[in-house]
């Protein structure tokens, strides 16, 4: 071995003792497999339409780095306080932990971080690109318009936002009820966006010729004016006096104009507006019956909202299609026909057909229509004026015949009408416009595909701005790639809520705050799929002491002089943040 054994000699005591360093034996020469650190994509972040770096957010929260966790959300979404309350959290549905015991309460953690940021008056530290000469006009200060303004400002563009209503926020301000989203929360998020330099002009409705005139002052327009007009039922009696539109009713409540309701009220529809209206009626003292054509499980409203509506005493009558409405200002008779499921329709929902000739009459004192909304003006819709059209995942870009580029987003383009999809629109449009100005319209689609989270379509602004996240492997970590030996079963936190009896009496926020203690305990459950959380298993398990601590961001590196490629580190990595590859690949 080129090494002379030293020997300890005593009275009949002869044993081998080596004082020569084993460093002379470069075991790395045995290696044919090479481990390396390779951070990957967590399924939650790929499922988030805003592409939030959720696994990183949870990891930072566990470490008590609340400010950094909040900043991490803000890189991808300007509305953590809003989304922490009203988002339907598709992330949790894809959480790998859900296959182990229960998904991480990502939604609750987002809200906790936003509340913590507000209480401690954190100032966000976001990277911002140098100013650009182009100016963008944004129509509508709802979630998509504000998100577009936010991300465009990050990218160096000056943005003017035009809002018809007296206050910014769109559906967040005028549609979603106070018990889901207190106005103070919304105002503080909007104030933060304004503080970045976004100018919001409220009470400034924009007319149809704006899209042409804008080019004098602006280089592009973002249309995010949403859906604010109720769809028609197209049944006799629909236009009787006293019938109200659900969206207008919610709007009136948020303006503070509604008196108490003591009657039984029918709400026609199955979307979030219908559920919000029904729950508001309960709070105002009335009894609400939701009448829906399909089944409860087909309702487009978010499941949590439906569950809470039922808890609060809202009645849901399913498989009933309104046929006609009769009545006076005092009482209305809603004639409905029983329906049954007959296969699946083109968008994957249950198709329905009349179950027979029979009809039923539901007598109520008031009826609200809430079968969905549409754009209030024809010219809000993309393509109405012709021109070259580029359809993206959550937005549509149109180069009008007059040369003005208009990006459409939010409810105007999205299949799922949610806040987080609106944020996704604003982000996508911001990136698309930036690429347009730098490289032209034709480059947009190819360029954008480089900034997706996992396999898309969610986009990451951090990746776009070449932040540390762009080193992340796009592979989405699957449950069977987690080493579950390192995790033990532990229950998910229960979101504390107002008691049902309290909920029925007040528009006060239902979901209560969670403590930092609970939040940390919850985020400790997170697998941190694909991310290194410095657990040091690789270091502990390496039989060759080839994992060495250092000052790098990774905190450690592999000394390939001695790593013999056994792969123990990769197997023992609880969260698939390493990879083993064949040498020479």
């Amino acid at each position: 071995m080129g090494e002379k054994a030293e020997i300890i000699i005593g009275d009949h005591l002869l044993i081998p003792c080596s004082r020569m360093s084993t460093l002379s034996n470069k075991t790395g020469s045995w290696r044919f497999l090479r481990p390396r650190y390779d951070e990957k994509t967590a399924p939650c972040s790929a499922a988030c339409p805003a592409g939030e770096d959720i696994a990183m957010v949870e990891m930072l929260t566990t470490q008590g780095s609340f400010k950094e966790a909040w900043d991490t959300i803000l890189r991808e979404n300007p509305f953590p306080a809003v989304c922490g309350r009203v988002c339907f959290h598709p992330c949790e549905g894809r959480c790998n932990r859900g296959e182990f015991d229960e998904a991480i309460a990502i939604h609750g953690i987002e809200r906790f971080l936003a509340d913590t940021a507000a209480r401690n008056e954190f100032k966000s530290s976001l990277e911002k690109r140098p100013p650009r000469k182009e100016k963008i006009a944004i129509v509508g200060a709802g979630p998509s318009g504000l998100a577009a303004a936010y991300f465009l400002t990050m990218l160096g563009y000056a943005c003017d936002v035009f809002e018809a209503m007296p206050e910014a926020g769109g559906v967040l301000r005028w549609g979603i009820p106070e018990y889901r989203l207190p106005v103070s929360v919304l105002r503080s998020e909007i104030a933060r966006i304004e503080a970045m330099g976004v100018r919001i002009y409220t009470g400034k409705a924009v007319s149809s010729d704006f899209l042409s005139k804008a080019q004098d002052e602006y280089h592009a327009v973002f249309m995010g004016c949403g859906h604010s007009r109720s769809r028609k039922l197209a049944i006799p009696g629909e236009d009787l006096e006293g019938l109200e539109e659900g969206i207008s009713f919610l709007n009136a409540i948020r303006r503070g104009e509604t008196a108490s309701v003591h009657e039984t009220v029918a709400v026609i529809g199955g979307g979030n507006t219908a559920v919000d209206v029904a729950r508001s009626i309960v709070r105002l003292g009335g009894k609400a019956i939701i009448v829906y054509r399909r089944r409860r499980e087909d309702m487009p409203a978010f499941d949590d909202e439906i569950t809470m509506a039922l808890e609060e005493g809202v009645e849901i009558r399913e498989l009933l299609a309104p046929v006609r409405i009769d009545g006076t200002g005092e009482s209305y008779t809603l004639t409905v026909r029983a329906m049954r499921v007959a296969g699946t329709d083109s968008d994957g929902r249950a198709a329905i057909e009349p179950a027979g000739e029979e009809s039923e009459e539901i007598v109520v004192q008031k009826i609200f229509k809430a079968i969905g909304e549409e754009a209030a003006e024809e010219w809000y819709r993309p393509g109405e004026r012709g021109g070259q059209q580029l359809t993206l995942s959550n937005s549509i870009l149109v180069r009008q015949p007059d040369g003005v580029v208009v990006a459409y987003g939010g409810d105007l383009t999205n299949d799922v009408k949610s806040v987080v999809h609106a944020v996704a629109s604003g982000k996508e449009a911001a990136m698309a416009l930036d690429i347009l100005f730098r490289k032209g319209l034709d480059a947009i689609k190819t360029e954008l595909s480089a900034y997706v989270v996992g396999s898309g379509p969610s986009l990451s602004m951090e990746i776009y701005m070449a932040g540390p996240r762009c080193e992340r492997n796009h592979h989405v970590v699957a449950y069977n790639e987690i080493n579950i030996d390192y995790f033990h079963l532990s229950p998910r936190i229960t979101q504390p809520r107002l008691l049902i009896d309290e909920r029925k009496k007040t528009f006060g926020e239902i979901d209560l705050k969670i403590s930092a203690n609970l939040a940390i305990r919850e985020t400790e459950r997170c697998f941190n799929c694909g991310l290194c959380n410095q657990c040091d298993n690789c270091y502990l398990f390496c039989p060759d002491i080839a994992v060495c601590h250092d000052e790098s961001k990774q905190g450690r590196h592999i000394n390939y002089d001695y790593c013999k490629g056994c792969g123990l580190c990769v197997v023992e990595c609880p969260r698939n943040a390493m990879i083993l590859e064949e040498e020479g690949q």
Binding site: M1, A5, H12, L14, P16
Partner: protein
């Protein structure tokens, strides 16, 4: 102070008095009480030691090998299957010349599962380089543990103190538990002859080529030889302080005996009574209790047994294809002594069966009535099956 304690507690008391620094063990019946007592001592502070819970006996001994390499006095205990699982590391301990003490509670090996006394487990480890001391009662257990530390640390070899399952481990007897100061005067702190030290980094147990391995093994053989003399020295020192000594062998009425019974463990106590009864009837019978088995006290055995006409060895163990293990060893010790008496081998008490006075008397009668041994090993009390 005299206290009525269980054999297992006698072990634990001795370990406490020896001021052991680390205990690493895995529970197995009938050893369990020993480690239970010790874990309590560690928990209540009466013993300032690190108690390591490990996942197997193999790990228990591996952990102690590391521990003792750092120069700490250490203890473990096991039984039967547990000892068998330690086998590889038993060799390692002696090869690495690490003094430590193990209490080995003799238990029959499976299958079929049997938790009762049988010496085959410890005797199967006779070639692993461990000193082996067999005990007869609670007092001897306590005293032998203390002697074992002194002896092992003198010659840098590990020591196994062996006691019978239940008959000794779970029997309550009056035992003199000495004061700590007295024990300290007999057993000073452990001063290792070599140890791992971060200030002077080195590695033990590295590759050894044929040109020196043999010498290393020879040094173990020499150390084992030293252990014979050292045991006597340790007993001298022990006797000065505590007034008790046991001897590598104990000869009872052997001076004029025509037939000498050879026993180990608790069968010795029963045999003492038989010998007294037979002597009262005028029978010229003696008894040799074997305490030190490794190193084997050839000289003491010869001195005791050579004058006899016949030697009857009672083995609570068996080496399949050969015979009772103590009988083999006695034969080997005597065979080069011209005119040695014939050795009668008897197998009794296997798997915890009682070895009663009647069984021992029958052994004596058989030995007396046959001019030559009827077989290498005669199984006593076999039932029709």
């Amino acid at each position: 102070m005299k206290r009525v304690v269980e054999g297992s507690q006698a072990v634990a008391e001795a370990v406490r008095l020896a001021r052991v620094g680390v205990i690493s063990a895995y529970p197995i019946t009938p050893q369990t009480h020993i480690v239970e007592f010790l874990s309590e001592y560690c928990a209540n502070g009466s013993l300032n030691a690190r108690f390591m819970r490990v996942e197997s006996e193999h790990s228990a001994l591996a952990a102690l090998i590391g521990t003792v390499s750092t120069g700490v006095r250490a203890f473990t205990a096991t039984s039967g299957q547990g000892l068998a699982l330690m086998h590889e590391l038993l060799h390692w301990t002696s090869g690495a010349r690490l003094p430590m003490v193990m209490a080995e509670v003799n238990r029959a090996l499976a299958p079929g599962w049997n938790i009762w006394v049988d010496q085959t487990d410890s005797l199967a480890q006779r070639d692993t380089g461990w000193i082996q001391l067999y005990c007869e009662n609670g007092q001897e257990v306590l005293d032998t543990i203390l002697q074992a530390y002194r002896l092992g640390e003198l010659v840098n070899l590990p020591v196994m103190v062996v006691l019978d399952a239940f008959f000794l481990s779970h029997t309550y007897e009056p035992v003199d538990v000495p004061d700590q100061e007295l024990v300290d005067s007999f057993l000073p702190s452990y001063v290792p002859k070599f140890q791992l030290d971060p200030k002077d980094p080195c590695a033990f147990g590295s590759l050894v080529t044929p040109n020196v391995y043999m010498e290393m093994r020879h040094s173990i053989a020499l150390a084992m030889d030293d252990a014979l003399g050292c045991f006597s020295y340790v007993e001298d020192e022990f006797e000065k302080i505590f007034g008790r000594r046991y001897g590598s062998v104990e000869a009872i009425h052997c001076e004029d005996a025509e037939i000498i019974l050879v026993t180990t463990g608790t069968v010795t106590s029963t045999s003492r009574q038989v010998v007294n009864e037979l002597r009262a009837k005028g029978e010229k019978v003696g008894l040799m209790k074997l305490k030190l088995f490794r190193p084997f006290p050839v000289h003491d055995v010869r001195m005791t047994l050579m004058p006899a006409k016949k030697v009857a060895v009672i083995d609570r163990n068996f080496s399949f294809g050969s015979g009772g293990i103590f009988a083999q060893e006695i034969r080997a010790a005597l065979c080069n002594a011209p005119g040695h008496p014939p050795i009668y081998g008897y197998i009794a008490g296997i798997g915890g069966r009682d070895v009663t006075t009647d069984v021992i008397k029958e052994i004596y009668r058989k030995t007396k009535n046959s001019d030559i041994p009827e077989a290498e090993s005669v199984w006593m009390g076999l039932q029709e099956v």
